[in-house]
């Protein structure tokens, strides 16, 4: 009876399609988010994250439709992030079938949004996504916004602690330095966040080798998010779980049927 580590594929969605370098061999249509979600579910994903990067409102409406369809077909937890600015946005996503929402830039701009969402729906629905990078701040890590393009001029560890006090239920920690590099998760960053936060920590950014996943867990991550290594078929989810199980971590056995 041990809580299993969670392996979470992340799908970037815009205007109804999954983007960011998809290279599946066994899908009829590699960019279809529902088909990909169902495939990852079959392969043993413990949760799914959809990141809506649509710029237009019609794109957002399409994403809502994807969330609806996905929640009807895939019976594992679904987190949706991107563009959430209000309690009403959260309500809409939860009604569409999301189990959790992740917020980032909007919370930096208006931290009270965290308390508003947590008060209404509970902390367990609220994931704070922190896009952090190494910088000359007190802890050595700063927060960035707008997908890592802008510095928020705040210390990342301070922000994590403030956000937890306001009611976030989980932190998704994206390293902007390692994102997309496949050079390994930022271990020092995970350790630093683990030492100051008491909510579950999802590591993101840099997964490359199977050993990278284990290293992030050793540093204190509770869950591991990855995109390109799964989309490109470099690792199957079952391979990661098999490796971690062999290394002594508790993983959920993939569903057989």
């Amino acid at each position: 009876m041990t809580l299993s580590v969670r392996i979470i594929p992340c799908l970037d969605v815009t205007d109804g399609r999954v983007v960011k370098g998809i290279n599946f061999v066994d899908l009829a249509d590699a960019g279809d988010p529902i088909e990909m979600a169902a495939l990852y579910d079959r392969e043993g994903a413990d949760e799914l994250t959809f990141l809506d990067i649509s710029a237009s409102s019609s794109g957002r409406e399409t994403t809502l439709d994807i969330v609806r369809k996905c929640a009807e077909e895939v019976f594992i937890p679904l987190t949706v992030g991107g563009g959430i600015r209000s309690v009403a946005d959260v309500d809409q996503l939860l009604r569409a079938g999301a189990d959790k929402v992740s917020i980032s830039t909007a919370a930096v701009q208006r931290p009270d949004l965290i308390a508003e969402i947590a008060d209404r729906f509970g902390s367990q629905v609220l994931v704070l996504s922190i896009d952090a990078r190494r910088a000359n701040t007190e802890s050595g890590f700063e927060v960035t916004t707008h997908g890592g393009r802008e510095s928020a001029n705040i210390d990342a560890l301070d922000w994590a602690q403030r956000a937890c006090a306001l009611g976030v239920g989980e932190i998704l920690l994206n390293s902007m330095d390692t994102d997309g590099t496949r050079s390994g998760y930022d271990i020092g960053m995970i350790r630093a966040f683990r030492s100051v936060t008491k909510v579950p920590l999802v590591a993101s950014g840099g997964a490359g080798t199977l050993g990278d996943f284990a290293a992030a867990l050793d540093a204190g991550a509770d869950a591991l998010l990855a995109a390109s290594v799964f989309h490109f078929g470099i690792h199957r989810i079952g391979d990661v779980k098999g490796y971690l199980k062999g290394a002594g971590y508790s993983v959920r056995e993939s569903d057989l049927s």
């Binding site: 019976f75 594992i76 189990d99 729906f121 509970g122 902390s123 579950p200």
Partner: protein, 202 residues
């Protein structure tokens, strides 16, 4: 027909779809008559104990549950929908510091878990009773939990126990009324199997 009680709480759509995989007709309703007369009633729940209880009382849900119990009609509580079946919950809110009264089917209070990292979020296994109906064929499987509060004293006929920092009640079977702290509708094929086990027992 299975009724899913709509009292303003949570993600009812995926619950509806998950129960529909059994082939049963599933409706989401806050109508008293429909909820009382359904073959099975599901009481979901996402959020804080106090706000869920307030939403439940607002649609007379506490009385619906008690009436079903008195008529021996099956009811299944999920997550906070399990917690509110107890006497009280201590989940703090900004409005009040004291415990909130629950429906009171089971004695005891639902209180904050003692664990280094909360919420208890993710897939965990449970120890169920070999004679359990809900866990038939899935005794060794993992289920998806997300909660910071739990009941820890044994109630009901059969219990399933989970462990996270401490031992807690992961599921209860007590005649017509059953409950799970985890989300079967989010627990993959094992969860669908549990749902099917419950529906088959109706």
């Amino acid at each position: 027909m299975i009724a899913i009680l709509d009292y303003g709480s949570g993600n009812l759509r995926s619950a509806q779809r998950a129960f529909a995989t059994t082939g049963e007709e599933v409706v989401v309703t806050s109508d008293r008559k429909v909820a009382v007369e359904a073959r099975g009633l599901v009481v979901p729940g996402v959020g804080a104990f106090q706000s869920c209880m307030a939403g439940l009382v607002a649609i007379d849900g506490d009385s619906i549950i008690r009436e079903r119990l008195s008529l021996q009609r099956p009811t299944l509580g999920i997550c906070v929908g399990m917690q509110i079946l107890f006497e009280s919950g201590t989940e703090p809110s900004r409005e009040s510091a004291g415990p909130t009264p629950g429906v009171g089917i089971w004695s005891g209070s639902v209180s904050r878990m003692v664990a280094p990292i909360l919420p208890h979020m993710g897939w965990n296994t449970v120890i169920s009773n070999p004679r359990s109906t809900l866990f038939a064929g899935i005794a060794e499987r993992s289920f998806y939990f997300v909660h910071s509060f739990a009941a820890t004293r044994s109630v009901g006929k059969f219990q399933a126990w989970g462990e996270y920092g401490q031992k807690f009640l992961a599921a209860i079977e007590d005649g017509p009324i059953s409950a799970t702290q985890f989300h079967p509708e989010k627990s993959g094929t094992a969860g669908l199997r549990l749902i099917n086990n419950w529906v088959s027992s109706l």
